[in-house]
């Protein structure tokens, strides 16, 4: 063999060797197939340390904000808007038709949203609660677990009140147990309330009256425990919980203009869901997405044909005018003396703000009987910093407040006192509300009846999610909705829109029924 050929052969051998080496190298390299996430954290982190639990609880609040005060148009928004407006105090013009017999059925999208969202929160809370016993029991851990349990209890409380029949599950779902055979049957109401109350009790024990602004605290826990007791007819327990909050003193009434003012970090606010455009303006980020309730309940004064009005931030800027407080609610106010009428609502008197219009600066002449353009509108969600052309804004959302504690406390004491019209505590509490509303005690009640209570509660708490649950608990929802709720776009076509009796319970969503199988019944009437 000549030299060249030998060299060539060597080269070939070398190359072949290289190829084989690469082959072997790649084979041994099968850790190439092991996956390490780059931009996501492992769930193990959440459940294996107190720091992890803290991260998990923070995320629960994010989910809770979406569930209880969803920002913009969508099923979540619709679910909450329904609870705000679908009472004897509201009327709809457009957007959706609460209680529409052709739509309010098992396919109701927002009923499905709420069901899914609530159970997601419950499962994540379950996972946090279940992980805690394996960690070192510090006060901080207990405090965090108390928040998770309060959120879980609150969510179950919403579910049972909305749907009636629900599933009860405290075991966190994992890939190992999700296929475990379970017969899906509605939980007994006592079992549901037992869990709810035990969660609230744990929270009362382990939370302070004052926690970070944005977190739930002991007052929220007691407020909810009181509500739960009322749903179970345990009036003295309810009264004692509300009394505890009232007597503690951390929370009290504030000036009317402050209640829904720009800064909700005030002593009347038990729970607030913060939003802040500068802290990441999307739902999964801290700041949250924009929220539409301000525009929802406000008329489009700037569309008046006369051209006298242009959008202004003081009047709520751009708006939607989908739903409004109704005539019945308006009739409940002493419009001259009740300061709430001019604080919780925009003025029905408009002053022309279009400098190009000859009538500028004077009261508008061209009011129209067109609810899109002009109607008495709610100001509770008003935001002084709302962008003028926008439907949405980033104002914090006041969810539970001391005035509701007082109202419910008054009712609880009235019940404890065998519904005596002169129940002293009931009168004391309701008159605290009255005195603030009128600025003096001249309008205080001397008698407490169901009717005065319902009317005062309406005046104080309208469109705050109190009403729908209150009427349902009292068994008055259908009757009073049929009396006062309206649908229409002008006084001529503004008609009662009766709800069917079965609609006091939301339908179990059809997709969920399909998934749970025949053992779980649909609510009666659907």
């Amino acid at each position: 063999m000549n030299l060249n050929k030998l060299i060539e052969m060597k080269k070939i051998n070398y190359l072949l060797g290289l190829a084989i080496a690469t082959l072997l190298f790649s084979t041994s390299c099968s850790d190439l197939l092991n996956e390490e996430p780059i931009d996501e954290i492992s769930t193990d982190y959440i459940y294996s340390s107190v720091d992890g639990i803290e991260v998990g609880v923070t995320a629960l609040y994010n989910k809770l904000r979406m569930n209880n005060a969803s920002g913009r148009d969508g099923d979540g928004f619709r679910a909450n808007a329904f609870l705000l407006i679908g009472t004897d105090l509201g009327q709809m013009r457009t957007y959706f038709t609460p209680y529409d017999p052709t739509r309010h059925d098992a396919t109701l999208g927002f009923a499905n949203y709420k069901w899914v969202s609530c159970y997601q929160i419950i499962d994540r809370a379950n996972a946090i609660i279940a992980a805690a016993p394996n960690l070192q029991q510090t006060d901080r851990l207990k405090n965090l677990v108390a928040q998770a349990r309060l959120i879980r209890g609150e969510t179950y409380f919403d579910l049972v009140r909305l749907y009636g029949n629900i599933l009860l599950d405290t075991i966190p779902t994992t890939a190992d147990n999700y296929e475990d055979l379970v017969e899906y049957v509605p939980a007994a109401q006592e079992d549901v309330y037992e869990l709810i109350d035990s969660d609230f009790d744990y929270a009362i024990e382990n939370l302070n009256y004052t926690e970070d602004f944005g977190r739930y605290n002991q007052a929220v826990a007691r407020h909810l425990k009181g509500k739960s007791a009322m749903w179970q007819g345990n009036w003295s327990e309810a009264a004692s919980q509300f009394d505890a909050i009232i007597e503690n003193g951390t929370y009290h009434l504030v000036g009317l203009d402050e209640v829904f003012g720009q800064n909700l970090n005030h002593p009347e606010a038990l729970a607030v869901y913060p939003r802040d455009q500068s802290l990441g303006a999307s739902e999964n980020l801290a700041g949250g997405g924009d929220i539409w309730y301000s525009s929802f309940f406000n008329n489009r004064y700037y569309e008046l044909n006369s051209g006298e009005m242009i959008p202004s931030v003081e009047l709520g800027g751009n708006s939607l005018g989908w739903g409004y407080p109704n005539d019945y609610l308006q009739s409940l106010y002493d419009q001259d003396n009740d300061i709430r009428y001019s604080t919780y609502y925009y003025s029905t008197t408009l002053i022309s703000n279009n400098p190009d219009h000859p009538n500028f600066g004077n009261e508008v002449i061209g009011y129209e009987d067109n609810f899109r353009r002009y109607h008495w509108s709610l100001k509770k969600y008003h935001d002084d910093e709302k962008p003028i052309g926008s439907n949405g804004n980033w104002k914090d959302y006041l969810y539970y407040r001391f005035a509701e504690t007082l109202m419910l406390g008054a009712e609880a004491h009235w019940r404890v006192d065998n519904e005596s019209p002169t129940s002293p505590k009931a009168l004391e509490y309701i008159n605290m509300i009255r005195e603030r509303a009128f600025g003096n005690s001249d309008h205080n009640f001397t008698e407490f009846t169901l009717e005065t209570y319902l009317e005062e509660s309406a005046r104080e708490l309208a469109f705050e999610k109190n009403r729908w649950y209150l009427l349902k608990r009292l068994g008055l929802l259908v009757e009073r909705q049929n009396l006062h709720y309206r649908f229409g776009s002008n006084t001529g076509n503004n008609q009662p829109y009766p709800m069917a009796t079965h609609m006091v319970n939301w339908p179990i969503p059809q997709p969920q029924l399909d998934l749970m199988g025949p053992s779980f019944p649909q609510n009666q009437g659907y």
Binding site: S30, E35, N305
Partner: protein, 994 residues
């Protein structure tokens, strides 16, 4: 030896290699090489057999060579049969080469190798470069439409620079994606449009498992192999191919005229007003009223849509010596959009080099560099507003600026606004760098090391000024977004091929080992509330809010492949292959998937009993069976990860993480498709007529499916391997030279294919005990039906009277509202059982192609049709698309019901709310018949081009999609009216070869 001297020798060597030429012999011979019809052929390789000595013909087909008597001269030319001539006494040799136009000996590229067409026994459809390049488009997917049986291509977004969706033999995956993998010269690419159509030598579509299995892991949606052009030995050429033309829109629907729109609005408000018309003042804005009074209306389609130019220019240079071959292609495309402000331009440069280093080692480099720039300022919204904007009003406000709400109505946004106030610039760059070494140590053996890196980068710059719609919403402040995306893919392959031939036994062996790694990175910064628009997107720093987002992912694939191809006398064929793939995205216990395939072939016409059948010159039977996989799920699908959900405590950000809606599944594994394929190929009258019938049945099991969970578990879905899907179909292609004279040729072809998609099994549960497996109603998956059906109530008319309502299963309905089909009239109620399943996939698709050449003229017409397809058109019912008859928006014109128009088949308009069950109206027939291509060309006479010293010159004009016949109301039956409209284009082009 000093380094310098080595370098010098190397340079000399290279020089010699590049310039090697023939050296003198005894006798001078000459002649002309021409085709059968006597036309001289330039560039024919003329070479002495067994040597590398030779020359090539000049433009007149002349050659000149010195040779010895008795030597054999070989004449070869692409597209013609090679001819050998022995040198006798004569010095002049006029050679006629026979065309290979109907030959079965063309070379077809298969996975990791090539085969003669007559040896192919799997399902491979070849599409030639000329076929695709006659379509004036910037999208190769669009060019492939109707060219291959079993390949269904749709264009949902036809914006400048967009890509079509390619579906090969039906959907075999529910969640895993259905895009075929595209492999260019052995390198997988992200998008078929990364390469220049003009650089493509051929496209092979691998359709059955036997052909695909060698690409196992990523092949279950089919494989598209693209082979780019390379230079040929002893040939140099320069060519230009380009066109220029215009594009316009073919709108197949009407919106309400201004008067009709006004009437719609009056009717909608009348309904909410209890049946009494309301005064115009209460329902129209002052601007609309004025417009109604003075009759100044707006035709938005005229205002917005435009004629738009398109152009495409290609330059190719190729040169090859014995040792070095260089091909380079340069492409420039420019397209303006029919929607103003949209445009696209792209440049692609390719360089393919082959270098022989010595007798056993060669080196090749393929590079492809693609840069493009696209402007697309929010056309989705613009197109939607175009349909629904009120025709009443003014385009410009008093100050001469575009009016935000032309009708003064808050919901109605000016369709021109975004075009004027937003920008969205997309800059893409993709590179392919591919180097391979071939080692041939002994005959029949080839080892190739193939290394490649492919990358794609996109930089997107979006900005909306304070005057844009979102800017207005945001208090007159601008907002912008910068997005950088990058994906890279590395691949290293060791490929060994060994061919062995003895006593009519032919054996080919292939072994491949491959490592593939992909990484994706994403960065976006969203900024809002910019105080001024001076710097546009470059002013982000001064924005009040900046929100960055960063993410990345990585996945790897490790593979081993073996294949044996055996045949006896080119008569009986057997191929077996096996591939093992390990993928990082699957659960620990299921990383590896194994994909075997086997194929049998029989060239029946080579049997002795067929010899007497002169008519039948080709008859081949093919059978194959095998499996391929799909790993098309995102990274981390099998891991438990948490997603970010932050919150605010005490006005400070607090980080939150929690698992999302999808429950992780650590047991995820491969989705596997198993295909049986059978086919018969015919060739008649020396292949004047060729045909292929093909039948396939693909079963895909362990489907990667996002299974809906009972939400009470806290998760709404889990990705899991469930069930089975079947795709079966029939494909038929026939091609024939109806007339085949020297001056007059007619070639006609028909391609027909059907595919039936069916869910065979899902969760394997029968909870209702009816003996039939349960459907997944939540996901609209039904056993025995295709994926992607419509499951809804069915429209059955409009209620005409209260009587009719009282006797129906919808007692709460109103007169003038939609009556639904009562599937079970006995139950008397409307319940979920009244919903009906409707298939949407087409029954069949077909193409008819006709090519006529008469002397120097050539003419092509191509027609395509899709039959039995249905689509959902939201413009028929949805609020956001102006379809729900509320009078707030204009929309696609319908014949709606009013008390005075009881024959209306659309429900009564209602300003308060969308008519109930309106979405049942969205399901529409989207079948169509289309003349997809009309082309006329003229090739300049040889005499003239010779005088001009050119090879050939052809002028042509082509119309793309000039005629479409369909009932579907949109711009194209493939898309809804908010999608960028598919254009009709008419172009003029020029092809020159020097």
């Amino acid at each position: 030896m000093s380094d310098k001297r080595i370098l010098f020798r190397l340079v000399c060597l290279v020089f010699i290699l590049l310039t090697s030429n023939s050296y003198g012999q005894d006798k001078n011979i000459e002649g002309i090489v021409s085709d059968n019809s006597g036309i001289p052929l330039p560039g024919v390789t003329v070479i002495k057999k067994g040597t590398k000595i030779g020359t090539s013909t000049d433009f007149g087909g002349n050659f000149n060579l010195t040779a010895n008597t008795g030597e054999i001269i070989v004449f070869s030319y692409v597209g013609f049969k090679t001819k050998e001539v022995e040198i006798g006494d004569s010095n002049t040799y006029n050679i006629f080469l026979e065309e290979e136009n109907m030959s079965l000996d063309e070379i077809v590229v298969v996975g990791y190798g090539t085969q003669k067409k007559s040896d192919i026994i799997s399902s491979v459809t070849s599409v030639k470069s000329e076929t695709i390049n006659r379509v004036p488009s910037t999208d190769i997917g669009d060019m492939l439409k109707g060219q291959a049986a079993g390949v269904f291509i749709t264009t949902s977004d036809a914006g400048p620079g967009s890509s079509s969706n390619i579906l090969i033999r039906g959907r075999s995956s529910i969640n895993g994606g259905n895009n075929p993998i595209v492999i260019v010269d052995g390198v997988p690419v992200g998008n078929i449009n990364e390469v220049n159509a003009n650089d493509i030598a051929s496209i092979e579509i691998l359709k059955d498992a036997a052909a695909q299995a060698i690409y196992g892991a990523r092949a279950s949606n089919g494989v598209i192999l693209i082979t780019t052009k390379r230079a040929a030995e002893g040939k140099s050429s320069v060519s230009y191919n380009g066109f220029y033309g215009i594009q316009y829109i073919n709108r197949n629907f009407d919106v309400y005229s201004p008067e009709e729109y006004a009437m719609l609005k009056r009717e909608a408000y009348r309904t909410t007003n209890g049946g009494a018309y309301m005064p115009d003042e209460d329902i129209f804005t002052p601007i609309e009223l004025e417009s109604l009074q003075n009759g100044n209306f707006i035709d938005w389609f005229d205002e917005v849509l435009q004629l738009a130019p398109i152009q495409n220019h290609n330059f190719n240079f190729s040169t090859g010596s014995e040792k070095t071959k260089v091909y380079s292609g340069l492409n420039y495309q420019q397209q303006d959009g029919v929607v103003p402000g949209t445009d696209f331009q792209r440049m692609i440069i390719r360089l393919n080099i082959d270098q022989k280093l010595n007798s056993w080692l060669s080196l090749g480099i393929n590079t492809n560099w693609n840069i493009s720039e696209k402007n697309d300022p929010g056309t989705g919204n613009t197109l939607e507003r175009l349909v629904k904007a009120s025709p009443l009003g003014v385009i410009y406000d008093e100050s001469g600026e575009l009016a935000l709400n032309p009708s003064g109505f808050q919901e109605s946004i000016n369709p021109l606004l975004d075009l004027d106030t937003t920008e969205n610039l997309l800059e893409d760059r993709s590179d392919i760098m591919n180097i391979f070494f071939d080692v041939k140590p002994f005959k029949g053996f080839n080892y190739r090391m193939n290394v490649s890196r492919r990358s794609w980068n996109q930089e997107a710059f979006e900005y909306s000024t304070g005057k844009s719609y979102v800017g207005f919403r945001n208090g007159g402040l601008g907002q912008g977004k910068v997005t950088f995306q990058k994906s890279t893919e590395w691949q290293l392959e060791n490929i060994i091929n060994y061919d062995y031939e003895k006593n009519n036994h032919n054996l080919g062996l292939t072994f491949v080992q491959s490592v593939n790694q992909r990484r994706f990175e994403y960065f976006r910064n969203k900024a809002s509330n910019l105080q001024n628009d001076i710097l546009g997107v470059y002013g982000l720093l001064s924005a009040e809010f900046n929100e960055p987002l960063i993410s990345a992912s990585e996945r790897s694939l490790l593979s081993f492949v073996g294949r044996a191809q055996y045949d006896y006398k080119n008569k009986y064929y057997l191929t077996a292959s096996f591939r093992a793939d390990g993928s990082s995205v699957f659960g620990d216990n299921n990383k590896w998937g194994y994909f075997p395939a086997v194929a049998l072939g029989w060239n029946i016409h080579k049997e002795s009993f067929m010899e007497n059948l002169d008519v039948l010159n080709n008859l081949k039977l093919r059978l194959s069976y095998g499996s391929v996989g799909n790993e098309a799920i995102g990274p981390y699908g099998s891991l438990s990860t948490a997603s970010q959900n932050d919150y605010i405590f005490n006005d400070q950000i607090s980080t939150g993480y929690i698992p999302g809606n999808t429950l992780p599944n650590p047991n995820l594994k491969w989705e596997t498709s198993t295909t049986f394929n059978s086919a018969i190929d015919f060739g008649l009258w020396n292949n004047r007529v060729t045909a292929t019938f093909e039948y396939y049945n693909t079963r895909t099991k362990d489907l990667l499916v996002s299974k809906t969970l009972n939400a009470a578990l806290g998760y709404t879905s889990i990705l899991s391997n469930i069930g089975e899907i079947e795709n079966k179909g029939f494909e038929f292609a026939i091609n024939g030279y109806v007339v085949d004279n020297k001056d007059f040729k007619i070639n006609a072809g028909i391609i027909f294919s059907t595919n039936k998609n069916k869910i065979i099994s899902l969760y394997g549960l029968d909870e209702d005990g009816d003996g039939i497996e349960d459907d997944d109603v939540g996901n609209q998956w039904f056993i025995g039906y295709p994926i992607g059906v419509e499951y809804n109530y069915q429209y059955a008319g409009i209620f005409q009277s209260q009587d009719e309502i009282d006797n129906s299963h919808q007692p709460d309905a109103q007169v003038g509202s939609i009556r639904l089909l009562d599937v079970d009239p006995n139950d008397g109620v409307l319940n979920p059982d009244d919903r009906v399943i409707t298939k949407k996939d087409p029954d069949w698709i077909g193409t008819f192609n006709l090519d006529i050449t008469y002397k120097n003229f050539d003419f092509t017409v191509q027609a395509t049709t899709v039959q039995g397809r249905k689509m959902i058109n939201p413009y028929y019912y949805s609020y956001n698309q102006g379809g729900d008859l509320r009078g707030l928006f204009n929309g696609i014109k319908q014949n709606y019901w009013t008390p005075e128009n009881p024959t209306g088949d659309w429900p009564r308009p209602d300003a308060g709310n969308s008519p109930v069950f309106m979405n049942t109206l969205g399901l529409q027939d989207a079948s169509f018949f289309r003349i997809s291509l009309l082309s006329l060309g003229y090739t300049l006479p040889e005499k003239l081009t010779n005088k001009l010293n050119m090879g050939s010159v052809r002028l042509y004009s082509t119309a793309r999609n000039p005629i479409t016949i369909t009932d579907y109301k949109s711009y194209s039956p493939d898309q809804n009216p908010n999608a960028y409209p598919e254009q009709v284009s008419v172009v003029f082009g020029l092809q020159v070869t020097f």
